[in-house]
Amino acid sequence: MTDPYRVLGLSPDASDEEVKKAYKALAKKYHPDVAGNTPEAARKMQEINAAYDQIINHKESFSSSSSGYGYSYGYGGYRSESQEEPIELRAAVAYINARRFMEALNALRSVPEERRSGRWYYLSAYAKAHTGDTVGAMNDIERAISKEPGNATYLAFRDRLTGRRSAYEDYSRSFGGISTGFFPCCFPFFPCCCII
């Protein structure tokens, strides 16, 4: 795999902000409206997307199995973990690897309730968290842990879910907390721009 920072024209110590800026500049350059619908531009775009994904989502990498090999980002990057992955979960894992979480949840729903393993609940929690359903994700990861209490991947994922809340609160505090004065509106029942 090529160095994602190099793909974006950055040095490896670039900040997330710099990564986002560089990504946007390149995405604009290779956008079909600018570069035309050429295979060259499409390939370049995929590279840029994969590099962005790899850097920004790096801290959140998806562990494909309990033995913990990392998630291979992108486009056709699905690794042959099929020896370990039960057949009925493979489609869901492939969708998750392609970051298509709604499809992953659909694939998971097709597994009947009595066949849902700890791994099933972990995958479901992972996909739910990425569609914004953190309550569902928390329920599912608890189920996964109760089925396989010692599983480090599941425990780590639960920590990450709870960690998000405290990260949000910390960050929120830097805005003067969530209790500063808000604007009075001169026109309380009118959607009015004068409130700012």
Partner: protein, 265 residues
Amino acid sequence: MFGYVLANASSLSKEEKERYKAHYCGLCKVLREKYGQKAMLALSYDMVFLEMVLSDISDAEETNGKERCVPHPVKEHDYTITAFSEYGADMQILLGYYSLLDKVKDEGKGRSEEKKMRALIPDLEKRYPRVASAIKTGLEKIADSEEKNSKDADAMALLFGEILGEVFVYDESSFFRDDLRALGCGLGRFIYLLDAWCDRKKDAKDGAYNPLSDDITEEKMRGMLLDAAAAASAAFERLPLDQHIFILRNILYSGIWSKFKEEKK
């Protein structure tokens, strides 16, 4: 149920306030020009947030100008219009219409407005089939559960979150599709819960439906809201935003709590 996603002006700079306001006025202008003066009554800050997120992601070109309008006839003000202002305006109308339809069915109120708005909907449904059907079926599910008097506030909030998640997905082929959906979903959950919290006393008095249990504590409520906000922010921080990032963070980490704080007093 809208209008919770707004900035905390006390911690924005003068320039940021003006920029935020100009995006609001741009959206308002598009609404008025496309749907008539009265349509601006439907405008909420939630859509300003969406418009600013979408235009930031794609570095959309801006049209800036100055105008006077009906609510502010004396003083000229700046407006900013981007390619996403129209999308925001259209979504506002779609969301507004289906919620109104609900109200007509439930309370028999708003029949004449519903009739006037109805003419706008076929075009919008044709143009945004995925989003329109998500809003429609989502609101139907919510109405069903309300009828059964569901007290599972998180499940109810998720139904609304799923609607807003779909609204946030401007383009299904976008690389950021899922992060936008998760952001919209988290915000939608937040809006629904906060709305339920703000209405709970009135609903109890009127004997109207409310998803929160009667003995809900402020601490419990805060935890539920925090979970929804954190889900939104996790997705938000993955998006390549830079232009409006301070304003948007101000909204997401501070502004959205304003009604919760007001309610406490």
